[in-house]
């Protein structure tokens, strides 16, 4: 394992920027998955809603069409899923996640694209 003997600071030191607390995506138990058929900006093709972007405490959701989630840092807190007015965001167990953009839990209802 790589050690920290050569690290340039004697104590803890953080610069502003994503991920200074580590790749917090590994903390996640459930993954938020956006259904673009229900998501307002995706559906309308216009800048609208973005309540998920506004509420995300870790700023990992982009203000884009459709919104994109940065899974490197998303801790899976589910606030976006709770706040989404169209219920476009589903929390999927990471254990059921195939890693190919399709959630096993969603398969019964047909594949859902994931951003």
């Amino acid at each position: 394992m790589m050690g920290t003997r050569g690290y340039k600071y004697k104590t803890s030191h953080s610069l502003s920027g994503p991920g200074d607390g580590g790749r917090t995506g590994s903390w996640r138990v459930q993954r938020p998955v956006i259904n673009t058929e229900l998501c307002t900006p995706a559906k309308r093709g216009a800048e609208a809603c973005f309540i998920c972007w506004l509420y995300c405490p870790d700023c990992v959701i982009s203000r884009t069409i459709p919104p994109a989630i940065d899974y490197e840092y998303c801790k899976g807190c589910a606030i976006c899923a709770e706040e989404c007015p169209t219920k476009a965001i589903t929390m999927v167990d990471e254990a059921d996640w195939h890693g190919d953009g399709v959630a096993a839990a969603c398969e019964d209802e047909g594949p859902r694209p994931c951003t």
């Binding site: 050690g3 600071y9 803890s12 030191h13 610069l15």
Partner: protein
């Protein structure tokens, strides 16, 4: 320049000479005249520094931590309950590796309120990660402030320079004020290894996880345990750094010599009394008296208490048959902290085999811990002489072996 003044003024003159840029302190007896003198220097324009008036000792050290984080040379001073009120920030300053210097003018800790001298205040802070130096006279105070800044900045570890309340802080003694030109040679301007920069904002001493982690630039950063290990490693290395600085000081100023211990007639001593601070100079009179009676006593003053000079101490005691540790503080519920440290240092040496004795501890000296001067109880030289004379003759193998344990461990107790 040769002057006659009190110990607090000696400290203030040292702080002025050290080119301190920020002073934040809260008055507490017997430290008050030190910080009053500093505020006078600054008000009169004799010292180009910022004096930050604060509402508490906790804030005083917090202000110094902030100042030091920006790369300023920072100083504070306190005593007793003021020191304890700082306690959380004392740990913080060490963990943050800031080379702050603080004078601790030693005073008893309440309750009950007691303004007189003992060492309970600073000894109780021994585990905070600060370097602790103890001065025995005014020359060691004024020189000590300069050495403390040099040591703090060389190691990125804060330093407490401790000296006895009243016995040193308020008594007048002659001492030499170091020449400014020589000070400039000895103490270079403070160049911090890291300083806050408004153009490159950063968070310092943020939450660290139990394990190491990647920082924002992708470099593997320390976890809490690595940061604390490095503090311990650098503290142990500070033993030799302190001696190097002492040697450099002696070369420039022509005085000083041993940064760790100050032995007096220990070379041929059968018995050695170990202590801290001005008491060890008082004990020199006892050494003279008892040597005149044929009892070979020496005194070993501990100048640097943390990091503890265990190896040097064990070496200095290697021929002693009996060791007396007299201290003005104790770890309540056990014994004097210095006494435990001395025993541990000797045990470490015994495990390695005492020189000339072969392995084993059969030749370890008898160690007797004594408590004196708690809350400023007068320590009379005559009493010290009587106690040590009795102690030496009662040491196992001595004339009155077996009577030693019956004597009180607290010198001068009147129960």
């Amino acid at each position: 320049m040769h002057v006659i003044d009190n110990g607090n003024v000696a400290a203030a003159l040292g702080v002025k000479l050290a080119g301190v840029q920020v002073v934040a302190a809260y008055p507490i007896t017997p430290q008050t005249p030190l910080t009053e003198k500093l505020s006078e220097f600054i008000e009169a324009g004799e010292m180009r520094a910022q004096y930050i008036p604060v509402e508490s000792e906790h804030s005083a050290l917090a202000a110094c931590i902030a100042a030091s984080s920006t790369g300023a040379r920072a100083f504070t001073a306190t005593s007793a309950n003021g020191l304890l009120y700082m306690h959380e920030q004392i740990h913080w300053a060490a963990g943050a590796r800031l080379p702050i210097v603080m004078c601790v003018v030693n005073r008893a800790v309440g309750a009950p309120w007691c303004i007189w001298n003992d060492h309970q205040d600073s000894i109780s802070q021994r585990d905070t990660g600060w370097i602790q130096m103890y001065a025995c006279d005014h020359q060691q105070i004024i020189d000590g402030v300069l050495k403390a800044f040099s040591l703090a900045e060389a190691t990125s570890i804060p330093v407490m320079l401790c000296y006895d309340g009243y016995l040193l802080s308020h008594t007048y003694m002659p001492f030499e004020v170091p020449e400014e030109k020589k000070v400039a040679r000895f103490l270079k301007p403070f160049k911090p290894s890291y300083a806050l920069d408004p153009d490159n904002p950063a968070n310092l001493n943020t939450v660290t996880l139990p394990d190491i982690r990647m920082d924002v630039t992708g470099e593997m950063a320390h976890g809490y345990m690595e940061i604390r290990y490095l503090l311990q490693e650098d503290l142990r290395a500070a033993l030799s750094v302190a001696q190097d600085i002492e040697d450099e000081f002696a070369q420039i100023f022509g005085r000083g010599g041993n940064a760790l211990l100050e032995p007096y007639r220990c070379d041929d001593a059968d018995y050695v009394v170990v202590g801290i601070g001005s008491l060890t100079y008082q004990l020199r009179d006892v050494v003279e008296t008892l040597r005149a009676e044929g009892l070979k006593l020496g005194v070993l003053g501990v100048r640097l208490y943390r990091p503890f000079p265990d190896q040097a101490l064990a070496d200095a005691l290697q021929h002693a048959r009996g060791v007396f540790v007299i201290e003005k503080a104790l770890s309540y519920g056990y014994e004097g902290a210095l006494c435990s440290d001395v025993k541990a240092a000797l045990y470490g040496q015994a495990a390695d085999g005492r020189p000339g004795d072969g392995p084993g501890n059969d030749r370890l000296p008898y160690v007797k811990g004594l408590i004196a001067g708690i809350g400023g109880r007068d320590i009379r030289t005559a009493d010290l002489t009587d106690i040590l004379r009795a102690g030496i003759t009662a040491t196992p193998g001595g004339r009155n072996a077996g009577t030693l344990e019956k004597a009180s461990d607290w010198i001068g107790i009147k129960l």
